[in-house]
Protein backbone atom coordinates (compact mmCIF):
# COMPACT_ATOMS: atom_id res chain seq x y z
CA UNK A 1 0.00 0.00 0.00
CA UNK A 2 1.06 3.56 -0.67
CA UNK A 3 2.74 5.62 2.03
CA UNK A 4 1.19 9.09 1.69
CA UNK A 5 3.54 12.08 1.99
CA UNK A 6 3.57 15.83 1.47
CA UNK A 7 6.52 17.61 -0.11
CA UNK A 8 6.81 21.34 -0.76
CA UNK A 9 9.35 22.48 -3.33
CA UNK A 10 10.66 25.81 -2.08
CA UNK A 11 12.07 26.64 -5.52
CA UNK A 12 8.56 26.61 -6.93
CA UNK A 13 6.27 27.96 -4.20
CA UNK A 14 5.20 31.51 -5.10
CA UNK A 15 3.28 32.25 -1.86
CA UNK A 16 -0.05 32.54 -3.65
CA UNK A 17 -1.84 30.87 -0.71
CA UNK A 18 -4.13 28.95 -3.07
CA UNK A 19 -3.44 25.78 -1.05
CA UNK A 20 -4.58 27.54 2.13
CA UNK A 21 -7.73 28.82 0.46
CA UNK A 22 -8.51 25.51 -1.22
CA UNK A 23 -8.16 23.71 2.12
CA UNK A 24 -10.35 26.15 4.00
CA UNK A 25 -13.04 26.01 1.36
CA UNK A 26 -13.00 22.27 0.75
CA UNK A 27 -13.32 21.39 4.43
CA UNK A 28 -15.29 24.46 5.53
CA UNK A 29 -12.70 25.10 8.22
CA UNK A 30 -13.91 27.66 10.79
CA UNK A 31 -12.41 31.11 11.35
CA UNK A 32 -9.12 31.13 13.20
CA UNK A 33 -8.26 27.57 12.24
CA UNK A 34 -5.62 27.12 9.53
CA UNK A 35 -4.92 23.54 8.67
CA UNK A 36 -2.37 24.74 6.13
CA UNK A 37 -0.30 27.89 5.99
CA UNK A 38 2.41 29.42 3.84
CA UNK A 39 5.57 30.64 5.57
CA UNK A 40 7.96 32.97 3.73
CA UNK A 41 11.61 33.01 4.71
CA UNK A 42 13.74 36.11 4.02
CA UNK A 43 10.60 37.95 3.00
CA UNK A 44 11.47 40.76 0.58
CA UNK A 45 15.19 39.95 0.67
CA UNK A 46 17.45 38.17 -1.82
CA UNK A 47 16.99 34.43 -1.54
CA UNK A 48 13.35 34.68 -0.44
CA UNK A 49 11.68 31.28 -0.28
CA UNK A 50 8.15 30.23 0.59
CA UNK A 51 6.88 26.93 1.89
CA UNK A 52 3.41 25.58 2.37
CA UNK A 53 3.16 23.60 5.59
CA UNK A 54 0.49 21.52 7.32
CA UNK A 55 0.45 18.26 9.23
CA UNK A 56 3.19 16.17 7.59
CA UNK A 57 1.68 12.86 8.72
CA UNK A 58 5.00 11.86 10.32
CA UNK A 59 6.26 8.30 10.43
CA UNK A 60 6.87 8.43 14.18
CA UNK A 61 4.23 11.04 14.96
CA UNK A 62 5.00 13.02 18.15
CA UNK A 63 1.32 13.94 18.60
CA UNK A 64 0.39 10.24 18.78
CA UNK A 65 3.13 9.61 21.32
CA UNK A 66 2.11 12.33 23.78
CA UNK A 67 -1.71 12.28 23.54
CA UNK A 68 -2.97 11.45 27.06
CA UNK A 69 -6.18 9.87 25.71
CA UNK A 70 -4.62 8.05 22.74
CA UNK A 71 -6.99 9.71 20.23
CA UNK A 72 -4.62 9.50 17.22
CA UNK A 73 -4.28 6.65 14.78
CA UNK A 74 -2.29 6.10 11.61
CA UNK A 75 -4.06 4.63 8.60
CA UNK A 76 -2.60 1.92 6.37
CA UNK A 77 -1.61 4.78 4.00
CA UNK A 78 0.47 6.39 6.74
CA UNK A 79 -2.00 9.24 7.24
CA UNK A 80 -2.16 10.45 10.87
CA UNK A 81 -5.78 11.02 11.88
CA UNK A 82 -7.49 11.69 15.19
CA UNK A 83 -10.81 11.06 16.86
CA UNK A 84 -12.46 14.31 17.94
CA UNK A 85 -14.89 12.44 20.18
CA UNK A 86 -11.94 11.33 22.32
CA UNK A 87 -9.89 14.57 22.18
CA UNK A 88 -9.91 16.47 25.50
CA UNK A 89 -8.29 19.64 24.13
CA UNK A 90 -5.23 19.49 26.40
CA UNK A 91 -2.88 20.98 23.79
CA UNK A 92 -0.08 18.43 24.29
CA UNK A 93 -0.02 17.54 20.58
CA UNK A 94 0.68 21.21 19.80
CA UNK A 95 3.59 21.23 22.28
CA UNK A 96 5.08 18.15 20.60
CA UNK A 97 4.38 18.84 16.90
CA UNK A 98 7.43 20.13 14.95
CA UNK A 99 5.23 21.80 12.32
CA UNK A 100 2.66 23.60 14.47
CA UNK A 101 -0.08 21.56 12.79
CA UNK A 102 -2.65 21.08 15.60
CA UNK A 103 -5.19 23.91 15.68
CA UNK A 104 -7.82 24.73 18.29
CA UNK A 105 -11.16 26.42 17.61
CA UNK A 106 -11.27 28.21 20.96
CA UNK A 107 -8.78 30.15 23.01
CA UNK A 108 -10.36 30.62 26.39
CA UNK A 109 -9.04 30.51 29.93
CA UNK A 110 -8.59 27.35 31.99
CA UNK A 111 -7.00 25.71 28.99
CA UNK A 112 -10.32 25.62 27.13
CA UNK A 113 -9.28 25.07 23.55
CA UNK A 114 -12.07 22.89 22.21
CA UNK A 115 -11.40 19.80 20.12
CA UNK A 116 -8.16 19.82 18.17
CA UNK A 117 -8.38 20.23 14.40
CA UNK A 118 -5.67 19.53 11.85
CA UNK A 119 -4.96 18.51 8.27
CA UNK A 120 -6.37 15.06 7.52
CA UNK A 121 -4.56 14.60 4.17
CA UNK A 122 -8.15 14.94 2.91
CA UNK A 123 -8.84 11.55 4.49
CA UNK A 124 -11.62 12.45 6.97
CA UNK A 125 -11.75 10.74 10.33
CA UNK A 126 -13.03 7.69 12.15
CA UNK A 127 -16.66 8.27 11.13
CA UNK A 128 -18.02 6.32 8.19
CA UNK A 129 -16.53 7.56 4.89
CA UNK A 130 -18.21 10.55 3.23
CA UNK A 131 -21.01 10.92 5.75
CA UNK A 132 -22.32 14.26 6.97
CA UNK A 133 -20.99 13.47 10.46
CA UNK A 134 -17.51 12.92 9.07
CA UNK A 135 -17.66 16.08 6.98
CA UNK A 136 -18.76 18.25 9.89
CA UNK A 137 -15.98 17.05 12.17
CA UNK A 138 -13.09 16.44 9.79
CA UNK A 139 -13.99 17.85 6.39
CA UNK A 140 -14.20 16.05 3.08
CA UNK A 141 -12.77 12.57 2.60
CA UNK A 142 -11.19 12.86 -0.85
CA UNK A 143 -8.97 9.81 -0.40
CA UNK A 144 -12.09 7.66 -0.02
CA UNK A 145 -13.29 9.15 -3.34
CA UNK A 146 -10.01 8.17 -5.00
CA UNK A 147 -8.68 11.75 -5.06
CA UNK A 148 -5.57 13.31 -3.59
CA UNK A 149 -5.44 16.31 -1.20
CA UNK A 150 -6.92 19.41 -2.80
CA UNK A 151 -4.11 21.76 -1.70
CA UNK A 152 -1.61 19.91 -3.88
CA UNK A 153 -4.11 19.35 -6.69
CA UNK A 154 -4.77 23.11 -6.81
CA UNK A 155 -1.11 24.17 -6.68
CA UNK A 156 -0.50 26.22 -9.82
CA UNK A 157 3.28 25.74 -9.86
CA UNK A 158 3.14 22.15 -8.61
CA UNK A 159 5.34 23.17 -5.71
CA UNK A 160 3.22 21.23 -3.27
CA UNK A 161 3.21 17.51 -3.99
CA UNK A 162 0.97 15.03 -2.20
CA UNK A 163 0.62 11.33 -2.77
CA UNK A 164 2.54 8.10 -2.66
CA UNK A 165 5.87 8.89 -1.02
CA UNK A 166 7.97 7.01 -3.58
CA UNK A 167 6.39 8.86 -6.49
CA UNK A 168 6.63 12.22 -4.73
CA UNK A 169 10.31 11.59 -4.03
CA UNK A 170 11.11 10.52 -7.59
CA UNK A 171 9.34 13.54 -9.11
CA UNK A 172 11.31 15.81 -6.81
CA UNK A 173 14.59 14.03 -7.54
CA UNK A 174 14.06 14.43 -11.30
CA UNK A 175 13.30 18.12 -10.85
CA UNK A 176 16.41 18.76 -8.81
CA UNK A 177 18.59 16.87 -11.26
CA UNK A 178 17.09 18.74 -14.24
CA UNK A 179 17.44 22.21 -12.76
CA UNK A 180 20.70 21.52 -10.98
CA UNK A 181 19.96 23.41 -7.79
CA UNK A 182 17.53 23.77 -4.92
CA UNK A 183 17.50 20.39 -3.21
CA UNK A 184 16.03 21.78 -0.01
CA UNK A 185 12.65 20.44 1.01
CA UNK A 186 12.65 21.32 4.70
CA UNK A 187 10.49 19.22 6.92
CA UNK A 188 10.56 16.19 4.65
CA UNK A 189 13.47 14.55 6.47
CA UNK A 190 12.16 15.68 9.85
CA UNK A 191 8.81 14.04 9.23
CA UNK A 192 9.73 10.83 7.47
CA UNK A 193 13.11 9.74 8.84
CA UNK A 194 13.21 6.18 10.06
Amino acid sequence: MARMKFLCDSERCIECNACVTACKNEHEVPWGVNRRRVVTINDGKPGERSLSVACMHCSDAPCMAVCPVDCFYQTADGVVLHNKDLCIGCGYCFYACPFGAPQYPKESNFGGRGKMDKCTFCAGGPEEDNTQAEFEKYGRNRLAEGKLPLCAEMCSTKALLAGDGDQVSSIYRERVAARGFGAGAPGFDAAYKG
Binding site: V39, T40, D85, G91, G100, P186
Partner: protein, 341 residues
Amino acid sequence: MSNRSRFTWKAALFSALMALSAALVTMPAVHAAEGALDPNLPTNVQPQPATTDMWRDIRQGEPGYVSIPNDHAAVLIQSEGNSWRILRNAWVAPYGALALGGMILALAAFYLIRGKIRVSSGLAGRQILRFKTIERVGHWLTAGSFIALALTGLNILYGRYIIAPVIGLEAFSWLTVFGKWVHNVGGFAFMAGLALIFILWAKDNLWDRYDLNWILKGGGLLGLGHPPARKFNFGQKVMFWMVILVGALVSATGLNLLFPFMFVDLLGMQLLQLAHVVASLLMIVAICAHIYIGTIGMEGATSAMTTGYVDENWAREHHGVWVEEVTGVPNGKHHGHQPAE
Protein backbone atom coordinates in the same frame (compact mmCIF):
# COMPACT_ATOMS: atom_id res chain seq x y z
CA MET B 1 13.99 73.08 -2.62
CA SER B 2 16.50 74.28 -5.23
CA ASN B 3 19.41 73.09 -3.07
CA ARG B 4 17.95 69.66 -2.77
CA SER B 5 17.24 69.33 -6.51
CA ARG B 6 20.74 70.48 -7.42
CA PHE B 7 22.13 67.82 -5.08
CA THR B 8 19.97 65.18 -6.69
CA TRP B 9 21.15 66.18 -10.13
CA LYS B 10 24.74 65.95 -9.05
CA ALA B 11 24.18 62.51 -7.54
CA ALA B 12 22.45 61.25 -10.67
CA LEU B 13 25.20 62.53 -12.87
CA PHE B 14 27.83 60.90 -10.66
CA SER B 15 25.99 57.57 -10.69
CA ALA B 16 25.62 57.64 -14.45
CA LEU B 17 29.33 58.26 -14.88
CA MET B 18 30.21 55.44 -12.53
CA ALA B 19 27.89 53.04 -14.32
CA LEU B 20 29.31 53.98 -17.67
CA SER B 21 32.89 53.48 -16.58
CA ALA B 22 32.03 50.16 -14.94
CA ALA B 23 30.36 49.00 -18.14
CA LEU B 24 33.37 50.03 -20.19
CA VAL B 25 35.70 48.11 -17.90
CA THR B 26 33.65 44.87 -17.76
CA MET B 27 32.40 44.73 -21.35
CA PRO B 28 35.50 43.14 -22.88
CA ALA B 29 35.61 40.55 -20.08
CA VAL B 30 31.99 39.55 -20.65
CA HIS B 31 32.59 39.18 -24.38
CA ALA B 32 35.65 37.08 -23.78
CA ALA B 33 33.77 34.76 -21.37
CA GLU B 34 30.84 34.34 -23.74
CA GLY B 35 33.16 33.34 -26.48
CA ALA B 36 34.45 30.42 -24.41
CA LEU B 37 31.01 29.00 -23.44
CA ASP B 38 28.60 26.68 -25.19
CA PRO B 39 26.35 29.07 -27.16
CA ASN B 40 23.28 26.89 -26.44
CA LEU B 41 23.39 27.59 -22.71
CA PRO B 42 21.06 30.29 -21.42
CA THR B 43 22.98 33.41 -20.49
CA ASN B 44 20.37 35.14 -18.36
CA VAL B 45 20.26 32.68 -15.42
CA GLN B 46 19.91 34.38 -12.06
CA PRO B 47 22.59 33.30 -9.59
CA GLN B 48 21.16 31.18 -6.77
CA PRO B 49 22.15 32.38 -3.30
CA ALA B 50 23.51 29.68 -1.01
CA THR B 51 20.50 28.23 0.77
CA THR B 52 22.20 25.80 3.16
CA ASP B 53 22.39 28.35 5.95
CA MET B 54 18.74 29.23 5.49
CA TRP B 55 17.58 25.63 5.80
CA ARG B 56 19.71 25.15 8.90
CA ASP B 57 18.13 28.23 10.45
CA ILE B 58 14.64 26.94 9.63
CA ARG B 59 15.52 23.59 11.17
CA GLN B 60 16.54 25.50 14.31
CA GLY B 61 13.22 27.31 14.54
CA GLU B 62 13.97 30.59 12.72
CA PRO B 63 10.58 32.26 12.08
CA GLY B 64 9.57 33.58 8.70
CA TYR B 65 6.61 35.64 7.58
CA VAL B 66 2.97 34.54 7.51
CA SER B 67 0.02 36.54 6.22
CA ILE B 68 -2.31 35.20 8.95
CA PRO B 69 -2.62 36.92 12.35
CA ASN B 70 -1.20 33.97 14.31
CA ASP B 71 2.47 34.80 14.99
CA HIS B 72 3.22 31.30 16.28
CA ALA B 73 2.53 30.04 12.76
CA ALA B 74 5.61 31.84 11.38
CA VAL B 75 7.88 29.12 12.78
CA LEU B 76 8.17 26.33 10.22
CA ILE B 77 9.86 23.68 12.37
CA GLN B 78 10.26 23.63 16.15
CA SER B 79 12.51 20.83 17.34
CA GLU B 80 12.06 21.52 21.06
CA GLY B 81 8.78 19.62 20.93
CA ASN B 82 10.71 16.45 20.28
CA SER B 83 12.90 17.04 23.34
CA TRP B 84 9.73 17.69 25.36
CA ARG B 85 8.23 14.45 24.10
CA ILE B 86 11.38 12.44 24.94
CA LEU B 87 11.73 14.00 28.40
CA ARG B 88 8.06 13.42 29.22
CA ASN B 89 7.60 9.95 27.73
CA ALA B 90 11.03 8.38 28.16
CA TRP B 91 12.34 10.02 31.36
CA VAL B 92 9.70 11.64 33.54
CA ALA B 93 7.01 8.96 33.14
CA PRO B 94 9.15 5.83 33.77
CA TYR B 95 11.34 7.35 36.50
CA GLY B 96 8.28 8.89 38.16
CA ALA B 97 6.63 5.47 38.23
CA LEU B 98 9.83 3.99 39.59
CA ALA B 99 10.01 6.58 42.38
CA LEU B 100 6.35 6.11 43.27
CA GLY B 101 6.59 2.30 43.23
CA GLY B 102 9.88 2.47 45.14
CA MET B 103 8.33 4.61 47.87
CA ILE B 104 5.35 2.29 48.26
CA LEU B 105 7.65 -0.74 48.44
CA ALA B 106 9.94 1.02 50.93
CA LEU B 107 6.98 1.89 53.16
CA ALA B 108 5.68 -1.67 52.96
CA ALA B 109 9.13 -2.97 53.89
CA PHE B 110 9.37 -0.47 56.75
CA TYR B 111 5.97 -1.58 58.05
CA LEU B 112 6.99 -5.23 57.91
CA ILE B 113 10.33 -4.65 59.66
CA ARG B 114 9.61 -1.85 62.09
CA GLY B 115 5.88 -2.42 62.48
CA LYS B 116 3.41 0.13 63.72
CA ILE B 117 5.01 2.67 66.03
CA ARG B 118 3.10 2.25 69.28
CA VAL B 119 2.66 4.63 72.17
CA SER B 120 5.33 2.96 74.31
CA SER B 121 3.90 4.02 77.69
CA GLY B 122 0.40 2.92 76.68
CA LEU B 123 -2.58 5.17 76.07
CA ALA B 124 -3.36 7.52 78.95
CA GLY B 125 -7.02 7.82 78.05
CA ARG B 126 -6.81 11.58 78.53
CA GLN B 127 -7.23 13.63 75.35
CA ILE B 128 -5.68 16.99 74.61
CA LEU B 129 -6.53 19.29 71.73
CA ARG B 130 -3.77 19.27 69.13
CA PHE B 131 -5.35 20.94 66.08
CA LYS B 132 -8.16 23.50 66.21
CA THR B 133 -10.98 23.35 63.68
CA ILE B 134 -9.42 25.98 61.42
CA GLU B 135 -6.16 24.00 61.38
CA ARG B 136 -7.98 20.84 60.40
CA VAL B 137 -9.90 22.73 57.71
CA GLY B 138 -6.58 24.01 56.36
CA HIS B 139 -5.10 20.52 56.39
CA TRP B 140 -8.04 18.81 54.71
CA LEU B 141 -8.57 21.57 52.15
CA THR B 142 -4.95 21.08 51.09
CA ALA B 143 -4.97 17.30 51.49
CA GLY B 144 -8.34 16.64 49.85
CA SER B 145 -7.61 18.81 46.84
CA PHE B 146 -4.09 17.39 46.63
CA ILE B 147 -5.35 13.82 46.44
CA ALA B 148 -7.88 14.78 43.75
CA LEU B 149 -5.17 16.67 41.83
CA ALA B 150 -2.67 13.84 42.23
CA LEU B 151 -5.07 11.19 40.95
CA THR B 152 -6.30 13.25 37.99
CA GLY B 153 -2.73 14.34 37.20
CA LEU B 154 -1.40 10.77 37.33
CA ASN B 155 -4.28 9.85 35.03
CA ILE B 156 -3.02 12.35 32.42
CA LEU B 157 0.49 10.82 32.58
CA TYR B 158 -0.25 7.11 33.07
CA GLY B 159 -3.99 6.57 32.48
CA ARG B 160 -3.51 5.88 28.78
CA TYR B 161 -1.38 2.85 29.64
CA ILE B 162 -3.16 1.62 32.77
CA ILE B 163 -6.84 2.64 32.72
CA ALA B 164 -7.63 3.02 29.01
CA PRO B 165 -6.88 -0.63 28.12
CA VAL B 166 -9.26 -1.74 30.90
CA ILE B 167 -12.27 0.55 30.39
CA GLY B 168 -11.83 1.37 26.69
CA LEU B 169 -10.87 4.63 24.96
CA GLU B 170 -14.33 6.20 24.98
CA ALA B 171 -14.98 5.75 28.70
CA PHE B 172 -11.40 6.78 29.39
CA SER B 173 -11.88 10.00 27.40
CA TRP B 174 -14.96 10.88 29.48
CA LEU B 175 -13.07 10.06 32.68
CA THR B 176 -10.17 12.26 31.59
CA VAL B 177 -12.43 15.17 30.57
CA PHE B 178 -13.98 14.98 34.05
CA GLY B 179 -10.52 14.64 35.57
CA LYS B 180 -9.29 17.68 33.68
CA TRP B 181 -12.21 19.72 35.05
CA VAL B 182 -11.50 18.49 38.59
CA HIS B 183 -7.81 19.29 38.09
CA ASN B 184 -8.49 22.81 36.78
CA VAL B 185 -10.92 23.70 39.59
CA GLY B 186 -9.16 21.72 42.34
CA GLY B 187 -5.99 23.71 41.79
CA PHE B 188 -7.64 26.77 43.32
CA ALA B 189 -8.78 24.82 46.40
CA PHE B 190 -5.22 23.54 46.77
CA MET B 191 -3.78 27.06 46.55
CA ALA B 192 -6.29 28.31 49.15
CA GLY B 193 -5.39 25.42 51.47
CA LEU B 194 -1.70 26.06 50.93
CA ALA B 195 -2.10 29.72 51.85
CA LEU B 196 -4.13 28.83 54.93
CA ILE B 197 -1.68 26.28 56.35
CA PHE B 198 1.20 28.64 55.64
CA ILE B 199 -0.47 31.38 57.70
CA LEU B 200 -1.42 28.96 60.50
CA TRP B 201 1.75 26.92 60.83
CA ALA B 202 4.73 28.79 59.38
CA LYS B 203 5.78 30.17 62.79
CA ASP B 204 5.63 26.69 64.38
CA ASN B 205 7.86 25.30 61.64
CA LEU B 206 10.88 27.54 62.16
CA TRP B 207 14.14 26.00 63.35
CA ASP B 208 14.35 25.67 67.14
CA ARG B 209 16.83 24.32 69.73
CA TYR B 210 15.30 20.83 69.76
CA ASP B 211 15.79 20.19 66.06
CA LEU B 212 19.52 19.32 66.07
CA ASN B 213 19.00 16.71 68.80
CA TRP B 214 16.03 15.33 66.88
CA ILE B 215 18.16 14.95 63.73
CA LEU B 216 21.01 13.28 65.69
CA LYS B 217 18.60 10.73 67.16
CA GLY B 218 17.08 10.01 63.78
CA GLY B 219 13.70 11.22 64.94
CA GLY B 220 13.13 8.16 67.10
CA LEU B 221 12.19 6.19 64.00
CA LEU B 222 15.10 3.79 64.47
CA GLY B 223 14.22 2.92 68.06
CA LEU B 224 16.59 5.37 69.73
CA GLY B 225 13.84 6.81 71.91
CA HIS B 226 11.68 9.87 71.33
CA PRO B 227 13.62 13.09 71.15
CA PRO B 228 11.68 16.04 72.56
CA ALA B 229 9.94 18.42 70.16
CA ARG B 230 7.59 21.36 70.23
CA LYS B 231 4.37 21.43 68.20
CA PHE B 232 6.18 20.10 65.14
CA ASN B 233 9.32 17.96 65.11
CA PHE B 234 12.06 18.41 62.53
CA GLY B 235 10.66 15.72 60.25
CA GLN B 236 7.31 17.46 60.17
CA LYS B 237 9.03 20.77 59.49
CA VAL B 238 10.80 19.30 56.47
CA MET B 239 7.46 17.98 55.22
CA PHE B 240 5.79 21.34 55.87
CA TRP B 241 8.37 23.37 53.95
CA MET B 242 8.44 20.79 51.15
CA VAL B 243 4.66 21.14 50.81
CA ILE B 244 4.84 24.95 50.89
CA LEU B 245 7.76 25.37 48.48
CA VAL B 246 7.06 22.55 46.03
CA GLY B 247 3.34 23.33 46.34
CA ALA B 248 4.02 26.94 45.38
CA LEU B 249 6.09 25.79 42.39
CA VAL B 250 3.36 23.38 41.30
CA SER B 251 0.75 26.14 41.74
CA ALA B 252 2.71 28.69 39.72
CA THR B 253 3.45 26.29 36.88
CA GLY B 254 -0.13 25.01 37.01
CA LEU B 255 -1.56 28.52 36.68
CA ASN B 256 0.63 28.99 33.63
CA LEU B 257 -0.81 25.82 32.11
CA LEU B 258 -4.33 27.10 32.85
CA PHE B 259 -3.64 30.23 30.80
CA PRO B 260 -1.73 28.89 27.80
CA PHE B 261 0.64 31.30 26.02
CA MET B 262 -0.52 34.20 28.18
CA PHE B 263 2.76 34.48 30.08
CA VAL B 264 5.29 32.43 28.09
CA ASP B 265 5.95 31.17 24.55
CA LEU B 266 5.92 27.58 23.33
CA LEU B 267 9.30 26.69 24.82
CA GLY B 268 8.14 28.15 28.13
CA MET B 269 4.96 26.07 28.02
CA GLN B 270 7.01 22.92 27.39
CA LEU B 271 9.51 23.63 30.17
CA LEU B 272 6.90 24.67 32.74
CA GLN B 273 4.75 21.64 31.91
CA LEU B 274 7.77 19.43 32.66
CA ALA B 275 8.50 21.37 35.87
CA HIS B 276 4.85 20.90 36.89
CA VAL B 277 5.00 17.13 36.37
CA VAL B 278 8.40 16.61 38.04
CA ALA B 279 7.52 18.75 41.08
CA SER B 280 4.12 17.08 41.40
CA LEU B 281 5.62 13.59 41.24
CA LEU B 282 8.17 14.53 43.93
CA MET B 283 5.37 15.82 46.11
CA ILE B 284 3.19 12.74 45.56
CA VAL B 285 6.10 10.47 46.50
CA ALA B 286 6.83 12.49 49.65
CA ILE B 287 3.17 12.69 50.65
CA CYS B 288 2.94 8.88 50.50
CA ALA B 289 5.34 8.79 53.46
CA HIS B 290 3.30 11.50 55.23
CA ILE B 291 0.06 9.55 54.76
CA TYR B 292 1.77 6.37 55.98
CA ILE B 293 3.08 7.86 59.22
CA GLY B 294 -0.20 9.63 59.89
CA THR B 295 -2.33 6.49 59.50
CA ILE B 296 -1.18 2.86 59.61
CA GLY B 297 2.42 3.74 60.50
CA MET B 298 1.81 5.18 63.96
CA GLU B 299 -0.61 4.52 66.78
CA GLY B 300 -2.52 7.55 68.00
CA ALA B 301 -1.55 9.91 65.17
CA THR B 302 -4.64 9.93 62.95
CA SER B 303 -7.02 11.46 65.49
CA ALA B 304 -4.94 14.65 65.53
CA MET B 305 -6.36 15.48 62.12
CA THR B 306 -9.79 13.83 62.44
CA THR B 307 -11.17 14.85 65.84
CA GLY B 308 -8.31 17.24 66.55
CA TYR B 309 -7.55 15.48 69.86
CA VAL B 310 -4.62 13.21 70.70
CA ASP B 311 -3.87 10.93 73.63
CA GLU B 312 -1.75 12.70 76.24
CA ASN B 313 0.87 9.95 76.35
CA TRP B 314 1.25 10.03 72.57
CA ALA B 315 1.68 13.76 72.74
CA ARG B 316 4.28 13.54 75.56
CA GLU B 317 6.32 10.98 73.60
CA HIS B 318 6.28 12.80 70.27
CA HIS B 319 5.86 16.44 71.19
CA GLY B 320 6.98 16.59 74.82
CA VAL B 321 7.93 20.24 74.92
CA TRP B 322 4.67 21.23 73.26
CA VAL B 323 2.62 19.33 75.90
CA GLU B 324 4.50 21.11 78.68
CA GLU B 325 3.74 24.43 76.99
CA VAL B 326 0.05 23.61 76.52
CA THR B 327 -0.78 21.88 79.81
CA GLY B 328 1.74 23.53 82.11
CA VAL B 329 2.55 20.07 83.54
CA PRO B 330 6.24 19.12 83.22
CA ASN B 331 6.94 16.11 81.06
CA GLY B 332 9.25 14.60 83.67
CA LYS B 333 9.87 10.92 83.35
CA HIS B 334 7.47 10.48 80.46
CA HIS B 335 9.64 11.37 77.56
CA GLY B 336 12.52 9.64 75.95
CA HIS B 337 13.45 7.02 78.53
CA GLN B 338 11.73 4.04 76.99
CA PRO B 339 12.68 2.63 73.65
CA ALA B 340 9.79 1.94 71.34
CA GLU B 341 8.81 -1.69 70.97
